[in-house]
């Protein structure tokens, strides 16, 4: 062939030169576990559903969310969102408002009438669930999805358990609760209300159930020995909150003393405030030691609830009570000081914690009860084969989210047990710590604050205190997610590679390394915003 002067070779491409042979370590794509997911008691894939919400795919987001938790509208109101405390964005500006987006999705689902997908097949097995609270209904959902015939029995007149009889309306409107409960019933779950189970073994035998999940909650208010006159009116907080759901509202008088420092104490104080009474909380320790969440204490104080910190009730009389001032000792325990004070009080509400009614377990062999709660193995099974338990009646933190998580975990284990297997949860990815991220890439975007109801209406009505986000603000909030540890297709690796050694596979398909040319510089790892690539030493 004709070549120019002094040229003997045809031009070739550098593609013949496989520079991948220079490499001593290689980049590898991976999924790390976002901190929000890692600590969600209900095991939600938060980053996963936010990913769908970011592009406006709200139904896809809701479907992804409800794989793990069927109650987003409830969660978006009552969950204490420890995910937000763990959120890596908190180290940049403020945590992502996960809870508010969850509520938006839940409300959107109710508004649009999205239905849960029915089970793909019937297993032919029957499972009895005792208790239609968060744990029981969560288990019912997951078991039904797995194709089991589920019957839920509850002693109360409505579904919801503590979500109805413990959480006041101003935090969880009943329409929301009803809508999400009904969705479970619509899946073909049988719910029998006003049906107390007196003996679990008899009930299982009669109904021909293959397994049972117990989630009866803790509905018995703890009593404290308070010397009191005959005319003193002393009631427990749970009965007060429960009676709010019935026809007969509790008669507590004008001055109501609430004894305790937990969330129930706050709930009952805020409830009686709304009924026109003047609540005073009496708590033996200080505000920072109180088990109630600080934001709830703050909201109660805003509404005009009075609190006597470092005080115990010494004596209760007809129209007044005597309290004793306490002082914290070196170890932080309250000690009496001998100083007394008299408070005007028409009634005393005890909010000192709750016990479990374990009556239905009488005569069940193998069962172990410690400190008033039922012991369960890591698979949520009690000492009696085939009987599982969860929620407030087992040793754990008592809140709705934990209960929902128990329901899901128990369901998976019951499903495995019914087919003679053991459930092995898939191994967890390593947690995507903040140090794995490159925060430079995230534009500043302050958190969207949810609107709060006017203080006057909070003091006199049971309207919901905290408002929701609208579509634009929810979308903005979802897009604040850093997508920790999971590729969100920002194209950074594809862009920053000096060797074109990253192959873009197209929308939704992520990327792939071309190890023929990757020299192992590690730039893709350093510039990946979300920590979804790591370097691994080459094996030589």
């Amino acid at each position: 062939m004709d070549k120019p002067f002094a040229i003997t070779l045809n031009p070739g491409s550098s593609l013949a030169n496989h520079t991948g042979s220079w490499r001593t370590s290689r980049p590898v794509y991976l999924d790390r576990l976002p901190p929000c997911n890692s600590q969600c008691p209900a095991g939600e894939d938060i980053q996963g559903w936010l990913f769908h919400a970011e592009s406006g795919g709200y139904e896809a987001a809701w479907r992804h969310l409800t794989r793990d938790n069927p109650f987003p509208a409830i969660m978006g109101r009552v969950c204490y969102h420890s995910c937000e405390a763990a959120c890596n964005r908190g180290k940049i500006d403020e945590a992502v408002g996960i809870n508010s987006v969850e509520r938006f999705l839940g409300d959107e689902a109710v508004k649009q009438g999205w239905k849960l997908a029915p089970p793909e097949r019937e297993s032919g097995k029957k499972v009895l669930i005792v208790g239609a609270g968060p744990s029981g209904m969560s288990a019912a959902y997951h078991l039904r999805k797995l194709g089991h015939a589920v019957t839920v029995m509850d002693a109360g007149p409505y579904m919801g358990g503590m979500m109805r009889f413990g959480i006041p309306k101003y935090r969880l409107p009943r329409e929301v609760l009803d809508a999400e409960m009904q969705r479970i019933v619509d899946l073909g779950v049988t719910v029998k209300l006003n049906s107390k189970v007196d003996n679990i073994l008899d009930e299982m035998k009669q109904g021909g159930f293959d397994a049972a999940f117990l989630a009866v909650g803790a509905h018995i208010g703890k009593r404290a020995m308070i010397p009191s006159g005959d005319a003193a009116r002393i009631v427990d907080a749970i009965s007060v909150l429960r009676s709010m759901e019935g026809e007969d509202k509790p008669l507590l008088g004008r001055r109501v003393v609430v004894y305790g420092g937990g969330n129930t104490a706050i709930d009952v104080a805020r409830t009686v405030k709304r009924m026109g009474a003047e609540p005073i909380i009496v708590y033996r320790r200080t505000r920072d030691k109180a088990p109630a969440h600080d934001f709830e204490i703050e909201e109660a104080l805003q509404e005009g609830v009075m609190v006597k910190w470092l005080s115990t009730i010494k004596q209760a009389g007809d129209k007044e009570i005597t309290i004793e001032k306490m002082a914290l000792d070196d170890k932080g325990f309250p000690q009496p000081t001998g100083e007394f004070e008299t408070l005007e009080a028409d009634s005393v509400v005890l909010a000192l914690g709750q016990d479990v009614d374990l009556g239905l377990l009488n005569g069940v062999p193998g069962l172990e009860v410690t400190d008033g709660v039922v012991k369960v193995a890591p698979n949520m099974m009690t000492g009696h084969a085939g009987i599982f338990a969860g929620g407030d009646m087992v040793p754990a933190e008592r809140n709705v989210t934990v209960a929902v998580g128990h329901g899901k975990k128990a369901a998976k284990n019951i499903d495995a047990w019914l087919s003679g297997q053991t459930y092995a949860p898939p191994p967890k990815h390593e947690v995507a710590q903040f140090e794995k991220l490159n925060p430079w890439y995230y534009a500043d975007a302050p958190k969207t604050v949810r609107p709060m109801l006017d203080i006057i209406r909070r003091q006199s009505t049971f309207e919901e205190v905290q408002g929701g986000l609208d579509e634009t603000t929810a979308l903005f909030e979802a897009r604040r997610c850093l997508s920790c540890g999971n590729c969100f297709e920002c194209d950074n690796c594809y862009g920053v590679c000096p060797d074109n050694a990253v192959i873009k596979l197209g929308p939704g398909k992520r990327f792939q390394f071309n190890y023929d040319y990757c020299k192992g510089c590690g730039m893709c790892v350093a510039e990946c915003p979300c920590g979804a690539i790591k370097m691994e030493a080459e094996e030589i």
Partner: protein
């Protein structure tokens, strides 16, 4: 702001792409069909900033010229690592002649295209000249100045890595003060490159009052693409200087290339701005202000400034240079910029 404003979509415009943006708003580099002007298999070091900067710039120029582009290349790393005879990584028409004449070769190509178009032959082919700082600020400076002065229709892109890296890291007139090179060893009373008068070619280009002068770094892709695209929309002599960190010459980790470019901009050491007809029109403001130490300490060429007896006075002089840039080009972080 020289950048297009994209309201908050998870990452704004900081990342290369963004699945939430409309496709036409995404960067050239995010495109699955980008030219890859400088293809895989080139022999640049791991983490080479120049290879990256060249692909960023030429891919954008290819889009802006609708694929009708010829590049003239000066001698230097970019030529040596991309085109060892008979192989090449370039996927565009490309010519290499001598070290110092890239601007003159490009001028000649532009003149030939002009004549051909006058004769009705050929379409609107555009010309880019490119080289490293050695081929631009030292050896090719006369040809470059002539190209500016004649206002030839050429975009000249200088990939500035502050030295002759290809031949063993010798000093150039773009080597920063106090930096160690093979020819400015960290010895004697003033170790490293002496504090001279400096030679910032973008300012010299502005003094020629040419239609467009800009600086950019490999850390700000959107800004870089915007400037190349804008330059390609202008006729006459244009000059863009892109800061491209060199892991080998700077003694830095290969994964830190973009980080170093970012820190050069954030500390004010490398001002990122654009100018038209000799006047500064806009500057990329500093987003997260940092002291120069943050930039210097990642590089072994400045290692002699740190250690047991840090060269406080020298670091202060470098800080003063950065502060002067911040004042002169108005780089202060502003409220509301991201």
């Amino acid at each position: 702001m020289s950048l297009q404003t994209v309201k908050f979509y998870q990452t704004g415009t900081f990342t290369v792409g963004n699945r939430l943006l409309a496709p036409e708003e995404r960067s050239v580099q995010a495109n699955m069909q980008r030219t890859n002007s400088l293809n895989s298999g080139h022999r640049a070091c791991q983490g080479c900033g120049e290879a990256l900067g060249a692909r960023y710039a030429i891919d954008a120029a290819m889009i802006a010229s609708k694929g009708q582009l010829i590049a003239a290349n000066a001698t230097g790393c970019l030529e040596v690592f991309s085109t060892p005879y008979p192989e090449t990584s370039w996927q565009i028409p490309w010519i290499h002649s001598l070290f110092g004449n890239a601007a003159a070769v490009a001028t000649g190509i532009a003149a030939a295209i002009k004549v051909k178009r006058q004769k009705g032959q050929g379409g609107d082919v555009r010309v880019v000249a490119q080289g490293g700082d050695g081929g631009t600020t030292d050896i090719g400076f006369g040809c470059l100045s002539g190209m500016f002065e004649r206002n030839d229709d050429v975009l000249y892109i200088c990939y500035d890595n502050g030295g002759y890296m290809n031949t063993g890291v010798q000093r150039s007139s773009a080597t920063p003060s106090a930096a160690r090179t093979a020819t400015t060893m960290p010895l004697g009373p003033e170790p490293g490159n002496p504090f001279g008068q400096g030679k910032f070619v973008p300012a010299i280009a502005m003094a020629h009052e040419i239609p467009y002068v800009a600086t950019a770094t490999v850390a700000d892709l959107r800004d870089l693409e915007y400037k190349v695209t804008k330059a390609m929309g202008i006729r006459g002599a244009r000059y863009i200087q892109i800061l491209v960190p060199c892991p080998l010459g700077w003694g830095a980790a290969s994964q830190d290339t973009i980080l170093l470019a970012r820190l050069a901009k954030e500390t004010g050491i490398f001002p990122v701005f654009e100018a038209e007809f000799g006047e500064v029109k806009s500057a990329l403001p500093i987003r997260r202000p940092q002291p120069v130490e943050e930039y210097l300490k990642l590089q072994k060429r400045f290692a002699h400034l740190f250690g047991k007896n840090p060269a406080v006075a020298t670091i202060a002089r470098i800080q003063a240079q950065a502060d002067k840039n911040i004042r002169r080009y108005g780089l202060q972080a502003r409220k509301g910029d991201h």
